[in-house]
């Protein structure tokens, strides 16, 4: 019967069940809002993208030079055999941790504010791992033999040494890349279907057709989709905890003062989430402003994320203090010397940057006004990520330069141009994928945000 009158989904009654998304949002408008992101903005996007590619090209030249000349073009020295490359590796793996946290852990905890933000953070995860994964190869003396680290059958019956933390890295990082990508692309399926059906541009609809796997939204598909999604979350949660624990064991399993500590696993995981969420906030602030999506990514969402940063910041701060206490209280003269040296020795500035950015500055997040002030939040999060990069720098260089053998203490590590270029290049590499992503696939989970809307009911729920 054609005379059925629709009730606008935005009538106050409907808002009852919905969380965080204002009543003006309907399933229809949502489709439109998200798909609109695929079109604009044109010029700015292209400008950023080309600049990004330029930086990447410079980095590639630097890397080529390093392969031809030898790793010596980087600033490594004896005893500082690891430096910025491993720092970048840990940094990017850390960045990559937020996505799975938001999409998996918060999914299991049924905290629905994730729905508005998890696609962006998942994308960040996948691209973050893709960036991180490069550095173990870049930092090798003979990168062309990197495949020797993978366990593949060969006629010499040579297998990798499964006792080496670096070998654990190989397993952890590859697993993490695989699982987070699966998670990412499975989540996209229903939204890709939307894109297939409603995108204006033919290219976008083609991509929609491909990534939707021919999704129709039938009840059977939904059943297995969520049946599986639960398990993805169930796997990803312990995975995300294990991956950064494994990364932390690259250091904790060595016996060096400043590395050899049981606190490392939780300390690193917290730090990872800390930096990851910080970067998500930065990206979201840009996107919601640039694409005028304040009504979908609301201040409440941002505030919740800010609280997460505050929480992890305190954990990280606790870990710092705990390390110092142990060094002072413990019997080892090496630890005592080292921790004093980290803050008052040659690399004192790095130590203080780390402590200020990660522990002191985030304290302002105790104020609600700051948490809800996007400009302030943006700046704070930038500080947090600078601080987290330096945390890894301090842990790596700040230990290696001052270990057991005084005769071998060396403070002659200087970051070379090659390293700087490759560091910049890593951001460009990450940025390239992210820029393409927001132009080619739905950057927000349409289906899941729809779930937050009140289901249309003819009889009002009493």
């Amino acid at each position: 019967m054609a005379d059925i009158t629709y009730e606008p989904a935005s009538s106050p009654e409907d808002v009852g069940a919905s969380e965080h998304v204002p009543a003006t949002v309907t399933q229809k408008s949502l489709n439109a809002d998200i798909l609109r992101m695929l079109e604009r903005p044109g010029k700015i996007w292209w400008g950023v993208f080309l600049l990004d590619l330029l930086i990447l090209a410079v980095a590639l030249v630097a890397e080529r030079n390093q392969i031809v000349m030898g790793i010596g073009v980087a600033g490594h020295t004896r005893p500082v055999m690891w430096a910025s490359y491993v720092t970048n590796f840990v940094f990017w793996v850390g960045i990559a941790h937020c996505g799975t946290l938001v999409s998996a852990i918060l999914f299991l905890f049924r905290s629905h504010f994730r729905r508005a933000v998890y696609r962006v953070s998942e994308a960040m995860t996948v691209f973050g791992v893709m960036t991180a994964g490069l550095f173990p190869i870049i930092h090798l003396g003979r990168p062309w033999f990197a495949y020797w680290l993978f366990p593949y059958p060969n006629q010499r019956q040579l297998w990798p040494n499964f006792r080496s933390p670096l070998e654990w890295d190989v397993f952890a990082v590859t697993t993490y890349l695989t699982v987070s990508s699966i998670f990412f692309f499975v989540g996209i399926i229903p939204d890709a279907a939307v894109q297939r059906d409603f995108a204006k541009n033919r290219l976008h609809r083609l991509l929609g057709a491909i990534f939707s796997f021919g999704w129709r939204g039938s009840n059977i598909q939904w059943k297995h989709f969520y049946g599986a999604y639960l398990f993805f979350a169930a796997f990803a949660t312990p995975l995300v905890l294990s991956v950064h624990s494994v990364v932390s064991w690259d250091f904790a399993m060595a016996q060096n003062p400043g590395w050899h500590s049981t606190i490392f696993a939780p300390y690193f995981v917290a730090g990872a989430i800390f930096s990851g969420v910080a970067l998500v906030i930065n990206l979201l602030i840009i996107i919601r402003k640039g694409y005028r999506l304040e009504h979908i990514v609301t201040l409440d969402h941002m505030e919740k994320l800010a609280k997460l940063v505050l929480l992890t910041s305190t954990i990280v701060g606790y870990s710092y203090l705990c390390e110092f206490f142990c060094a002072w209280y413990g019997p080892s003269v090496y630890e005592r010397d080292l921790f004093w040296w980290r803050f008052f020795g040659h690399f004192w500035w790095a130590g203080w940057i780390m402590f200020t950015c990660n522990v002191i500055i985030p304290l302002v997040l105790w104020f609600k006004s700051v948490r809800r002030n996007m400009a302030a939040l943006f700046v704070i999060m930038l500080f947090v990520n600078v601080g987290m990069w330096f945390e890894r720098f301090v842990i790596i260089v700040g230990s290696l330069a001052h270990l057991f053998m005084p005769s071998n203490w060396g403070v002659n590590y200087k970051m070379s141009w090659t390293e700087a270029a490759i560091l910049a290049g890593s951001f460009a590499w990450f940025g390239m994928y992210f820029l393409l992503f927001i132009r080619l696939l739905p950057a927000f989970s349409i289906a899941e945000i729809k779930e937050t809307l009140a289901p249309p009911m003819r009889k009002k729920p009493s």
């Binding site: 070998e167 697993t175 729809k450 003819r458």
Partner: protein, 187 residues
């Protein structure tokens, strides 16, 4: 820049997917409780393979269809077990097939191997989970199992009942009775 026409045709074809002819009735609904009611009566009327298409999964509808829990979890479990055992046995095989002493440690040193086994467990578990889901949900669905209608990825809910002739008219009536905005017969 403009792409050549045949290429554009091809792209459109891919987007549209292959033409499939369906026989049955498709009802388009807006309200969830209408759908629930309609599904209930349809099932009473003896239509077992009623299929509901919706932009969002609704628990009421699942209940109305009284769906079993997905079987994907068993596939996943199998994969996880395989990963754990596989990872561990790879470690043990490698150290015993060619004994090499490192750090004065035992050849079969479990603690480090646990990490390997653990990661392999998650890797294979997730892969099994993925392929289990795709298999059970019949994805990718190249040939659309139901008549395609973009509204079902927007804000409308569809009920598809494969039927023909007499039954079809009956179904149409029934759907209209339950407040379908639109009922179409595919024959």
């Amino acid at each position: 820049m403009k792409l050549p026409a045949p290429l554009l045709k091809l792209v459109d074809a891919i987007i549209a997917g292959p033409k499939v002819s369906h026989r049955g009735v498709m009802g388009v609904f807006y309200y969830v409780d209408d759908v629930v009611a309609a599904v209930g009566t349809l099932r009473q009327a003896g239509h077992r393979d009623v299929r509901v298409l919706s932009p969002v999964p609704y628990h009421d509808i699942e209940r109305a269809l009284d769906q079993k829990q997905s079987l994907v979890r068993w596939v996943t479990f199998g994969g996880a077990v395989l990963g754990l055992t596989g990872g561990l046995s790879l470690c043990y095989y490698s150290v015993y097939s060619w004994p090499l002493v490192v750090g004065g440690k035992e050849l079969g040193s479990l603690p480090p191997f646990v990490t390997i086994g653990y990661e392999s467990m998650i890797l294979l578990g997730s892969l099994a989970n993925l392929f289990g889901m795709l298999a059970l949900a019949r994805l990718p669905e190249i040939k659309s199992a139901t008549p395609h209608d973009p509204r079902f990825t927007e804000d409308r809910i569809g009920i598809w009942v494969p039927c023909a002739g007499e039954a079809a008219t009956q179904v149409q009536e029934l759907m209209r009775g339950h407040g379908a905005e639109e009922v179409a017969l595919h024959a």
